[in-house]
Symmetry: C2
Subunit: 152 residues, 2 copies
């Protein structure tokens, strides 16, 4: 909690590790996620459940399998995540008419309402995390990350 005397712009920044993109992503994400989770806690959400809710509230009608794949999670983890949201009345599992093995996860009106609030909370947190970047730099970062995240 208390940051000790971290103000001393980290000595270790001059190491080779600190130039590895992998490491930088891990650290940037740890910072960002903890900020986002702090804010989301007020809505009883976490980064994970927020992501599921966001996709459920989009018009894409994802299956659980698609959620797992898109969110880089194991399919078995989606079950608990969806259970949690469903028990709060935020999403429902609708049978997929074209494949009866499959559920489609969609947001309820309550879910959509909570999602709207969560979006603004998350984007505020993102704004804080990315405070040192200009708008064009953020777009640049977004574009580069997207190519890495969805590379074939």
């Amino acid at each position: 909690m208390a940051e000790t005397h971290t103000s001393s712009r980290h000595r270790l920044q001059s190491t080779d590790l600190a130039t590895e993109i992998e490491f930088l992503m891990a650290r940037a994400r740890a910072l960002g996620t903890s900020k986002a989770n702090e804010q989301l806690a007020a809505l009883n959400l976490k980064a994970r459940s927020y992501a599921v809710l966001a996709l459920a509230c989009s018009d894409s009608r994802p299956s659980q399998r698609e959620l797992a794949e898109f969110l880089s999670l194991d399919a078995s983890q989606i079950v608990a995540l969806v259970d949690g949201l469903e028990s709060r009345g935020l999403v429902v599992r609708e049978p997929d008419t074209s494949d009866r093995r499959s559920n489609v996860i969609v947001g309820t009106p309550e879910g959509v309402a909570l999602y709207e609030r969560a979006v603004s909370v998350v984007s505020a947190a993102e704004g804080k995390s990315l405070g040192s970047l200009s708008e064009t730099e953020r777009d640049q970062l977004r574009e580069l990350l997207a190519r890495v995240a969805f590379e074939g």
Copy 2:
């Protein structure tokens, strides 16, 4: 393992979530870490232990507390990580002469040798992960991430 038929450039990429930098970092990192871990397994390392080894083998002589902070880990987690490397003779805990509460973690010659091999393995994995980016784009990404990761 088998990627089912993911070849279908994800439907969900058009959702709002997919434009959030936080989400993109999480996904990019998940991809990269799993690739890196695959390669590091042959050296009996993981991303975490590799990072500790890298810092131990730099000339910065980090304390355990500094490792924890720099790697966004809890101090108590560093103990096990260092224990593991120390028991393999890759690093040693040296008492800090200026503060006897403190240990300084340094790589042994064996540790340095393994680290050299690990670096090349990791950078090959990174190269694969970032395959779609040019050299200048990688530098751009590195610079942007560093600012987010070390923002004051």
